[in-house]
Symmetry: C2
Subunit: 509 residues, 2 copies
Amino acid sequence: MGSLQADLLEANQTCHPKPLDPEEFRRQGHLVIDFLADYYHNVDKYPVRSQVEPGYLSKLIPDTAPNNPEPIETILQDVQNDIVPGITHWMSPNYYAYFPSSGSTAGFLGEMLSTGFNIVGFNWMSSPAATELETIVMDWLGKMIDLPPSFLYSGGGGGVLQGTTCEAILCTLTAARDKILNEIGRDQITRLVVYGSDQTHCALRKAAQIVGIQPRNFRAIETYQSNAFGLSPASFREALVADIAAGLVPLYLCATIGTTSSTAVDPIAGLCDVAKDFGVWVHVDAAYAGGACVCPEFRHFIDGVEKANSFSFNAHKWFFNNLDCCCLWVREPAALVNALSTNPEYLKNKATESKQVIDYKDWQIALSRRFRAMKLWLVLRSYGVASLRNFIRSHVKMAKLFEDMVQTDKRFEIFLARTFAMVCFRLLLPTSKSKGKEPERVVAIENELNQKLLEAVNSSGKIYMTHAIVGGVYIIRFAIGASLTEEKHVKFAWKVVQDHAEALLATLD
Amino acid sequence: MGSLQADLLEANQTCHPKPLDPEEFRRQGHLVIDFLADYYHNVDKYPVRSQVEPGYLSKLIPDTAPNNPEPIETILQDVQNDIVPGITHWMSPNYYAYFPSSGSTAGFLGEMLSTGFNIVGFNWMSSPAATELETIVMDWLGKMIDLPPSFLYSGGGGGVLQGTTCEAILCTLTAARDKILNEIGRDQITRLVVYGSDQTHCALRKAAQIVGIQPRNFRAIETYQSNAFGLSPASFREALVADIAAGLVPLYLCATIGTTSSTAVDPIAGLCDVAKDFGVWVHVDAAYAGGACVCPEFRHFIDGVEKANSFSFNAHKWFFNNLDCCCLWVREPAALVNALSTNPEYLKNKATESKQVIDYKDWQIALSRRFRAMKLWLVLRSYGVASLRNFIRSHVKMAKLFEDMVQTDKRFEIFLARTFAMVCFRLLLPTSKSKGKEPERVVAIENELNQKLLEAVNSSGKIYMTHAIVGGVYIIRFAIGASLTEEKHVKFAWKVVQDHAEALLATLD
């Protein structure tokens, strides 16, 4: 990159922009707002699942950075031409894959303000508003979903914004681990056992691995269709008893409200009662479904949460906050702080020493933290409780519509009763083809059939859904929650599925 | 919150906004851009360090969320009236505390695009552009700071964007730990030892704690002023030898380029040579200073990095990306993937199975990930190598100016020779007051004096600096790097320091 002399010469010759000129910021900011508003206008026209091939972008982009500044107009043109085709459009109204990434105008604006202020809110002093707003909105939200007072600041607990559920689990697992190791001795780490079901999100296994739980001490307890794939308290107790008998130390259970594969619900109250007998920390992962509890008709799914140690949900999933925004509440903040606090000299300050303030760095993995509360605050205020309920209910209503349409078509089956706004369904092998075959053989053929159907639908680019395998059965997941989705899109989606199924079934003849 | 019937009634009566209406997005987006542009115009007028008292915000904000939507105009008015006074203005040109949070127009716009697309880029399939752009820009940036080819994709290594250095350290430490435990047995975790110096960032101790290193097996090796607080390879070797003799297993060293307290530099090459003899993973934490290597005259500080296992720097610190953007490169991506990968059925897809793509979920703690590469790409393109060098050099030049001014005033001393764009200085006790006193007593008085000086300056709201204690000496850190800072601000800052010092010294008489 040239000698120092040449660089200095070059520096003197080039006309350098300023990194932050308020008027240039304004001009370019308006351009990008218009770019994104136009994107939302057109997003239903793009193939939902990107159709590019691996390595597409390196053919379009040079392999070194430019030496001189490029204008935003050129860059936005490249975003449109080179990046947009490589995007899988989570914001498309035709997006039904994984779980939704339900961005909103308010969520976007909140992130803009947070990014614009660009504070690094590790402790209270580094920006009091960031800490205090977080404390306030976490109590707001806790009350909205009717969390027990013991999880609120006003009741001795407290909430904190993490990036993702993975972090929420990692932090609470570390807290639980250190709490018990402080009692039984640090060397006992190899005896600790972590529990989930075979439906629990992979985040639990990864967190257990990171905190040093022996892989042989991780339990994915089997669930059954007869229980709608919820974790049975009896199975949990059995596992605990066996581990104790083997000289191990039960540590932590992650119970789920709305599993990724099929939105199954673990019975929290029963699991907590068992956990209590063995001194096990219970974390409730309601990543997808927690926000639905803002509607009283869904609140019963978290009944018993008052017996759990911690609870989290992703407000960026089905609660209209742009990624990332995971809401974690704990009943015993001291357990987090004891495990995760640091107190280097260069961060010491009077406010911390006064013990009148919260330093959220001690509630999370990282030191630095963005001002995420701004985003959540904007979403809660811009929509209010009434409209947030309305949004959730409109998704549930559309899911019910889809479910009804599937049920009316005898070529398909609903695999599990719908709980929230996701429908699990599959195409059946026509009876003319299945008769005389063993049931296992039929399921195997159907699994392959549904895999083909899903790939055909997704390759069309018209809609995007994803799959799961539950109890050995391949199911198609239709998760409603994209912010732009309306009834007409859902009807269109069902037509797309039917058309592809028809074509696929025709090939069987 | 009312019965279900009442809620449904209410839902029917309220006029609900849409969560994402493109024209409303456009209108509100423009309002927020103007709000932020105006904020940047006025940010030098606010007290830099917020002057609010703990608990100020709960007096201004209700304790429950509103039931009905509120207009953005009202919310922005509240941001101005209630939030801005509680912000410590990291974007102020008069901000010299901690390390800078150097946001820029391009960094902001990149974050806007990322937030607007709102994709969840856990694997290639979930949005190919996000993965491929990250791969490309990490090689761009690696070349810009002249990283050895072994850290680039083009050379068998690779870079990945993390949120913070804490995460980069946690991921590489987990990788190093599992690599060695896979050889010596999982039960050996209690024998592993982690090394840093007494100047290493607290992120290392926290990461070691999270991954289950025994607290007694954490080494903060002493450094000395005679070495400018760099970690001596001889001291490191001594610690290793002692640990081996005690039956322990050395695991991981974090070496630092630009420590938080005083921007000290650990001699990487020498440390890596020692580490190699003992099979220790070396991570180089250049959180603050790594970006400066884009200027050839600073590149020598990371000489020897080709012998390290991993290297990271925070592009959100002194490289014009808004928070958060930590760039991590590793020579052996497989070590990360082996320790952090998950492969649940619901994420399985053809691209992953083809092994032609990268799934960055296996390079980090969390599953979900934002499209951070967009931000870095916009910064690199909007400014280009030439202007980025120019920005860095202008900060260094201003730091030199400040250093010169301090040196000219005999009441002060520069505590350590400046390395980058931070000046470590302190006020001295006048000789008339120090004579006849023991040197230790003089330092103790001076420490108190500087603490008072710093608090007086910061309380004025005119500028904001922070402190460190190095080798028992309290120093004031003047870190230049805020994107709006110009020479006139630095001259003003020095005047503010002098004025307060004069007032303080007068009280000694």
